[in-house]
């Protein structure tokens, strides 16, 4: 769904690079390919570096009149982006190559069987963060990836959700119009790893937004803006109870961990509100 919505918003001549992951193995099984765009996959950790080479190749060839400049979209999962591919991503966006990097975040290494990643939220169950008598699932918080990308002062970074498809497509269009590296972080519910019925995929994505668990915002030229504000959020429990990976948090034994997670969700949204206000003021006075 992420790929479909992104490519619907992207020009027809878009070239796609993908990191190793469930997307790659499920869409390009030789001798078949689901891609009707030029598509390349090399390794787990290097999709952004491959994209920088594609951009350089297009630039060099177009100067010679041997080819055109085409939009480049990269798809990487949370493992390939938060963890093993972070260095290549940082290097590529620091160098200013023009491409849109889309992280489809299902919050764990689902392709290898649900192991924790830097994108797994606090308290979530995975096979490497089981809950037990002394632990309540993952003990660390989710890495703030958009903040890391925004710290490179890219022209555009945003979060998006498949449930808010229009917002997602608008963000893709905005990103691709920028002359430089852009980034969109999309929450991608995973039926297998999150433990829910496939039919509830969009509902869960929507609930993540409406509970402020996954706020939709953008950072354009260093100015933050919440694009789908949630003035009256639903309780976080409404989101958690839809997924098997959080069920333990809703039992009395893990009450403390639940409160901690709720506090984190609240603090993050308030931080985004303040950042929006502050960066807008700074932009208007500069």
């Amino acid at each position: 769904m992420v790929v479909r919505q992104v490519l619907l918003a992207a020009p027809k001549d878009t070239v796609v690079a993908t990191a190793t992951g469930c997307l790659e193995v499920s869409t390009a099984l030789y001798p078949h390919s689901a891609w009707n765009r030029p598509w390349i996959h090399s390794a787990f950790e290097n999709a952004a570096a491959v994209a920088s080479g594609i951009e350089a190749g297009f630039k060099a060839l177009s100067r010679r009149g041997e080819g055109g400049l085409h939009p480049i979209v990269v798809f990487g999962g949370d493992g390939g982006t938060y963890d093993i591919g972070l260095q290549a991503l940082s290097g590529a966006i620091e160098r200013g190559h023009r491409f849109l990097y889309v992280c489809y975040d299902n919050e764990a290494y689902m392709n290898t069987g649900i192991q924790r990643s830097g994108g797994t939220p606090y308290g979530a169950w995975t096979t490497t963060t089981p809950f037990g008598t002394v632990r309540a699932g993952k003990t660390e918080t989710k890495k703030d990836l958009v903040a890391i990308v925004a710290a490179h002062h890219v022209p555009y970074a945003a979060t998006a959700s498949i449930s808010h498809w229009k917002d997602l497509m608008n963000k893709v269009r905005r990103a691709l119009n920028k002359d430089g590296p852009t980034f969109i972080h999309v929450l991608a519910p995973c039926t297998r790893g999150w433990r829910f019925d496939n039919a509830k995929t969009v509902k869960i994505a929507k609930m993540a937004v409406e509970t402020r668990f996954f706020p939709l915002y953008e950072v354009e030229d260093d100015v933050y803006r919440i694009t789908v504000p949630q003035p009256n959020p639903k309780p976080v429990e409404e989101y958690l109870k839809l997924q098997g990976r959080y069920h333990h948090l809703l039992t009395p034994a893990y009450q403390e961990a639940l409160e901690s997670l709720k506090g984190e969700v609240d603090a993050n949204y308030r931080r985004l509100e303040k950042l929006s206000q502050l960066t807008a003021e700074m932009a208007s006075t500069s």
Binding site: S52, A56, G57, R95
Partner: protein, 394 residues
């Protein structure tokens, strides 16, 4: 008179010769990361970028892994691509080397050979490239600076040959060659352009004809993909000879897949790669002047391995000493010795081989050392079943 003879000789160090060759090769994308002793290549190219003389894209990446990844992406657009590295950098590229050869992308890389850590050392041995020996890259070893220059140009032609389409690496020992100032007779740039032409990739990332690069295979198809690489490597042997014919026509220079000195009927032939070939030739000439009869066979093209040439030149020899500047820990001998042995056995020859390890981590190797290595094989010396670790301290 060839065009090369019209050109004036210049003095370049090995790294500079690579950079100058790249400048003449109409390269579209260079992606590289600094590492000693290859750094001069990157710095020299960056100077040309700063002065507007390099017309392609120079991508100063954040690691060697990304260097080769960017090269891979660029090559997939159909661009002509170059990178350079050494030692730890090559080891970091290792994963992507297989991707590049598997996707049949004709990337050219210069490797200023340097031993691998630990312990960390800056000096030369071939252990870095031998670690990536089986990655599906064409590998040549140069022995002087002019050869480095010539091979850099030649490898673009060989890699881009439609029957080959494999990446390639020009190897030369770090510091010994990378920083050694020698005379080079560069070719006129227009002659290089005519020799190479422009790359004309059949498959590329082209929106008018979408192609999938880097699919996932199963046990039903992986073997066949690899078989295509095996066949491309075999074709590369003939393509190499054709390429050398063409290069000789414009330069008057030809190195061959192997270079033979006095191998026919010699009592003992030293088989060696890299710059020590010159050292061994000097040692052999001294021995022969004093009434001896020894030869030297320099292996220039290492992958694909020129087995037929090895067989031909060792035909009359009584003993061959195979010299390796790398270690295969726990192995019965060393990479070059094992390859030479396998080629001889496959050709039905049962020649006595002595495997000699030398020059590890840049340990100096002189003409006197060369004479001593030849001495190992004469006068009833009992040939060792294990490699001789020449030059190691007690």
């Amino acid at each position: 008179m060839t065009e090369a003879r019209l050109a004036r000789a210049v003095a370049w160090v090995g790294d500079e010769a690579v950079a100058e060759a790249v400048m003449q090769c109409d390269v579209d994308v260079v992606a590289a990361y600094p590492i000693t002793p290859q750094t001069i290549i990157v710095e020299k190219l960056a100077e040309y970028v700063a002065n507007g003389e390099f017309k392609g894209e120079f991508v100063a990446v954040e690691s060697e892994h990304s260097a080769l990844s960017a090269c891979l992406g660029a090559a997939a657009t159909g661009a002509r691509v170059f990178t350079a590295t050494s030692s730890q950098g090559l080891a970091l590229m290792h994963e992507i080397m297989y991707n590049a050869s598997g996707m049949r992308l004709p990337i050219v890389m210069a490797v200023a050979n340097r031993a691998l850590s630990a312990p960390l050392v800056l000096n030369a041995d071939h252990g870095d490239m031998m670690g990536s020996r089986d990655s599906g890259w064409i590998q040549v070893y140069a022995e002087d600076v002019e050869e480095i220059y010539d091979r850099t140009i030649q490898l673009f032609k060989l890699s881009e040959d439609p029957g080959v389409l494999l990446p390639s690496a020009i190897n030369f020992e770090g510091f010994i060659l990378s920083h050694d100032l020698e005379n080079v007779r560069p070719l006129p740039t227009d002659a290089v352009h005519r020799f190479l032409g422009r790359p004309n990739a059949k498959y590329r990332l082209d929106p008018s004809d979408p192609t999938t690069f880097g699919a996932i295979a199963t046990h039903d198809s992986y073997y066949e993909f690899r078989m295509q690489q095996v066949e491309a490597m075999e074709r590369a042997l003939d393509a190499f000879r054709r390429m050398e014919d063409e290069y000789e026509a414009i330069s008057g220079r030809r190195y061959g897949a192997v270079d033979a000195y006095n191998t026919q009927g010699a009592d003992c032939v030293a088989v060696v790669n890299g710059c020590t070939a010159g050292t061994m030739r000097a040692a052999a000439k001294e021995i022969n002047r004093a009434g001896g009869n020894v030869g030297v066979l320099a292996v220039k093209l290492y992958r694909p391995f020129p087995s037929e040439d090895i067989l031909k030149h060792l035909e009359g020899a009584k003993v061959a000493i195979v010299m390796d500047r790398s270690l295969s820990l726990g192995a019965p001998s060393a990479p070059l010795a094992e390859d030479v042995g396998a080629a001889l056995r496959a050709g039905g020859r049962n020649l006595r081989l002595l495997s000699v390890i030398y020059g590890i981590g840049g340990r100096d190797f002189s003409v006197t050392d060369g004479r001593r290595v030849f001495d190992l094989a004469k006068g009833g010396f009992e040939l060792s079943r294990k490699p001789v670790m020449y030059g190691v301290k007690e």
